[in-house]
């Protein structure tokens, strides 16, 4: 792809923003992109170790706008964003408080919306860009005691498919990854997702590795040039 009009110019390194980059899937994605020559800006509530690190709450729209502007100043125009920031909790539906409900929606759906609103004008203007949202197999198959998490992750799928259709002719692609239970700090040592009795029920018989999700994200941003509005499911066969 051509990114400039200067003949024989060195191609600049590609720039990605990864949210939730301090741990888990976000950190694995940032590591894989870094190893492939990308310059990675990590957004997280905690400092991260990538080319640029911004401590920011993805649910805070003005803060995300400022953080994205800082990345463009520091690293250059953004070629890809990966929205991986999130948290997980299980609760009976009747016990979900309005504050917990709002936190799920504002962080998962809002974190994606805020990031996209900040980068999309630049991406459509440059005529290329890849947006990847991390959703969940629970958005597809649901799960008991997962209503608020599944609602937030499901909303991401609707947004991804709609935005993909809306910007398809601008060169910007929008896709999602819906992992199954993944071996990250998001699920604690005593989580039911780590229970051998549960793992025996899924075809792969094990948790998804964060590196498998990272390889999938790398495929989406680098090679899936004819794919948009698609939800990829490295979920160990949890939902087929």
């Amino acid at each position: 792809m051509s990114t400039g009009s200067v003949p024989d110019a060195e191609p600049r390194p590609r720039v990605a923003i990864v949210t939730g980059a301090a741990s888990g899937i976000g950190a694995a994605v940032a590591a894989e992109l870094t190893s492939r020559g990308w310059r990675v800006a990590g957004f997280d509530l905690r400092p991260s170790e990538w080319d640029a690190s911004t401590v920011v709450d993805v649910a805070d729209a003005p803060a995300v706008q400022d953080a994205v502007a800082g990345v463009v100043r520091e690293l250059g125009p953004v070629d890809a964003v990966v929205s991986a920031a999130g948290h997980y909790a299980m609760a009976d539906f009747g016990d979900i408080t309005p504050a917990e409900w709002n936190a799920m929606l504002r962080v998962h759906l809002g974190g994606l919306v805020n990031l996209v609103r900040a980068v999309l004008p630049q991406m459509t203007e440059q005529g290329h860009g890849s947006i990847v949202a991390v959703t969940s197999e629970l958005a597809i198959g649901g799960g008991d005691r997962d209503a608020h998490y599944a609602a937030a992750k499901g909303a991401i799928i609707g947004l991804v498919r709609s935005l993909a259709a809306e910007v398809a002719d601008t060169g910007v692609r929008v896709n999602a990854v819906a992992p199954g239970p993944t071996d990250t700090p998001l699920i604690g040592a005593d989580s039911p997702w780590r229970d051998p009795d549960y793992l025996a029920t899924i075809p792969l018989r094990r948790l998804v590795a964060p590196e498998e999700v990272a390889r999938t994200v790398t495929y989406l941003v680098e090679e899936a040039t004819f794919m948009t509005g698609e939800i990829l499911s490295p979920n160990a066969g949890a939902v087929i």
């Binding site: 002719d169 498998e212 999938t216 004819f226 794919m227 509005g229 698609e230 490295p234 160990a236 087929i240």
Partner: protein, 257 residues
């Protein structure tokens, strides 16, 4: 090139329908990723020789609907280059017509080639994969297997059948290390477009432009874009996709397959 860039080093990949189009692109990509590629098509012709030369692989001609020929070819490969580690089912036969007018023998030839050929090939390679407790099977289905298409009942039925086969074998074989997934391409710039153009009574250029209009990305896809997806599903480092259908179609479906 580092090991990470040649994830299929030391592996044997059999690609059916690899004499041209998407199959050729898949063969070239898997060779680039390090595999020894067995290049299958229905005849051992100059196109196959050309792909063998481009990939440094071996010719593995057979009519996939001929069960005995398929088993003989897989046995030959085991003796010459080793058992098949990666099977990519890309072969396809397609004719179109209204259901009541479609010649019945030809209707079944579509199904018996596309779906029946997959059955024979998977049965032929599976004992070796199970012995090794490793295998990657990538089935090339079609957008029309997800959405259906007028006058393509046989083709769509065969391709939808491949999706159900993928899901079922994904569940059945993953516990034993054999990972089965599918790719469902949309409209790709390949020789198959000639069939569509003939059926519609228009030129190839005309039908490409017409298809592009109906695709959100406003273009048709390239064979190498399908090959990249196959490479993801063939990657030994990734087993987390199980029984999934990856749709590569420029945004046409945006649905769960």
């Amino acid at each position: 090139m580092t090991a990470a860039q040649r994830p299929l080093a030391g592996r044997v990949a059999l690609v059916t329908g690899a004499g041209q189009g998407i199959g050729r692109a898949i063969a070239e990509r898997l060779a680039h990723d390090g595999a020894t590629v067995a290049v299958n098509d229905i005849e051992h012709d100059a196109r196959v020789d050309s792909v063998v030369a481009a990939t440094g692989g071996v010719a593995a001609p057979a009519d996939v609907s001929d069960r005995e020929a398929v088993f003989a070819q897989v046995d030959d490969l085991a003796r010459t280059v080793g058992p098949v580690d990666v099977l990519v089912l890309n072969h396809a036969y397609m004719t179109m017509g209204a259901l009541v007018d479609h010649d019945l023998d030809d209707w079944w030839r579509v199904v018996d080639t596309n779906l029946g050929g997959a059955f024979h090939l998977i049965q032929a390679v599976l004992p070796g994969m199970l012995r090794a407790r490793f295998g990657r099977i990538v089935i090339v289905s079609s957008e029309w297997g997800v959405t259906g298409w007028p006058q393509a009942t046989a083709y769509a039925a065969s391709k939808a059948g491949l999706i159900s086969l993928t899901k079922t074998l994904g569940r059945e074989l993953a516990p034993q290390g054999v990972i089965v997934n599918a790719v469902a391409p949309g409209v790709i710039d390949s020789p198959q477009l000639e069939v569509d153009a003939r059926a519609a009574g228009v030129t190839r250029e005309h039908i490409v432009a017409e298809y592009a209009q109906g695709i959100p990305m406003r273009r048709v896809g390239r064979p190498d874009e399908i090959a990249a997806t196959v490479a993801l599903l063939a990657d030994p480092r990734v087993a987390a996709f199980v029984g999934q259908v990856l749709q590569v179609n420029g945004g046409s479906t945006r649905s769960r397959a």
